[in-house]
Symmetry: C2
Subunit: 252 residues, 2 copies
């Protein structure tokens, strides 16, 4: 598919899109090099592998719709989810350090992807330093993304609260309202991603619900009391198991 199939100029994600800053894309991709480098609106179906460990690194990807998990194979054989990519997120940067991907990327939910050939992007950087800025900024963001470092030291309930808030922030105007969240993966994947057992995920969601903070329907979560979630996340000490019932009484 070429750019003209669904022009980037009308894409609802164009403002945050790295690719959109590449000269020529906004104008409809008249440039020859670009047509061969940029591919938009690639269909992915749930469970599909976009790339695997050790595969050669060629493209940067962007999620347009659906979601993707990036995971690392550990020495003991099991999977370890290190990144969760939602619409607007970039992935594929794990191939930068030795021309091979060190993660694998699998579609959690069916949707659309765009990709750009890294080589081309690289040569375009020489022409326009602006792209480099965007790229580095992007990598910087991934680099400091607190959801990895900070939350790894938090108690389980804080991590879940963190995830829910992050997911709700990700809801743009064209998607769900900020109080509605769709969990893009199973409890097992959430647990893997957040570093806890799947039973703990389930338990904490249950406790949140019992306290009237959220309402859970499978993968669908309604946030009834965002302030309480924020309080749980930022509170220096204490958690729901010990004193939570008193701190966050049921809203019913």
């Amino acid at each position: 598919m070429s750019v003209s199939a669904s022009p980037c100029s009308t894409c609802y994600l164009r403002k945050q899109c790295l690719f959109y800053r590449v000269p020529g894309v906004a104008q409809g991709g008249a440039d020859q090099i670009l047509e061969s480098a940029l591919t938009t609106n690639i269909q992915m179906v749930q469970g599909e592998q976009i790339y695997g460990y050790g595969s050669t690194f060629e493209y940067f990807y962007m999620v347009k719709s659906g979601s993707v998990k990036c995971s690392l194979g550990t020495s003991t054989g099991e999977e370890l989810i290190v990144d969760l990519c939602l619409p607007g997120d970039i992935f594929g940067l794990d191939g930068l350090n030795d021309a091979r991907h060190s993660y694998s990327a699998v579609a959690l939910e069916s949707g659309l992807l765009c990709k750009i050939r890294f080589e081309t992007l690289e040569s375009l950087i020489a022409e326009d330093p602006c792209i480099l800025r965007s790229l580095l900024r992007l990598m910087g963001q991934k680099f400091i993304s607190d959801l990895r470092f900070v939350t790894s030291r938090m108690s389980a309930d804080k991590r879940i609260a963190h995830l829910l808030i992050n997911l709700s922030k990700h809801n743009g105007p064209s998607t769900l309202p900020a109080t509605r969240v769709r969990l893009p993966m199973t409890r097992a994947d959430i647990g893997n991603y957040l570093g806890m057992a799947l039973e703990t995920v389930s338990r904490i969601l249950g406790i949140f619900q019992k306290n009237g903070i959220i309402e859970v329907h499978g993968k669908h979560v309604e946030i009834l009391d965002p302030a309480a979630l924020n309080r749980i996340m930022t509170d220096r000490e204490g958690n729901l198991f010990s004193s939570g019932a008193a701190k966050f009484p049921p809203a019913e």
Copy 2:
């Protein structure tokens, strides 16, 4: 200080140095731009802050000797160490995403630093794509550095084993032998860095010592049985508290 004070061409770290690839540096820094952009052999003393949270991002730094910790201020006010930089390591990349540093950098041990102005590096990238490659590779390495993601899910003894092995790997030919390790920070800092209480750090080092795996003298650690350390790190299950004494009998 200028390049000529201690020329990069004789630096023992030049092979892994990003700055060394900048054209002109290897030749002694004849270029005018470089002289104003690159500064080598900057003295830092223990406890000195190299930059703080929110300070404007100007330089990339490289540790030539000594060590540096990069930490993040959390919303609850305490410090969270996210990176430990030893000779050959780069830091300062946390300023990439919004022109301000999101970490602070403090010297753990006195030593020498080199720094390069990012703006200059940026403009040099346009001339030589090779530098971009090096830079991206470097960021990629930081990006996938397992010591952050993977170890956060490990038991405390595995993390300590991991740290000891990593530190010993960092010993170059010009420093200590691979079986001697200097812990660059206090137990509290190690605990902060690895995500555990300082008492746990002390306890596990004690257990390792009791089992004849290491010998601890303050910040000085002698690795007596590297194979045992590797076994602890990679073993799928089990840890020293439950069955370790049987698995790793004293070597005395």
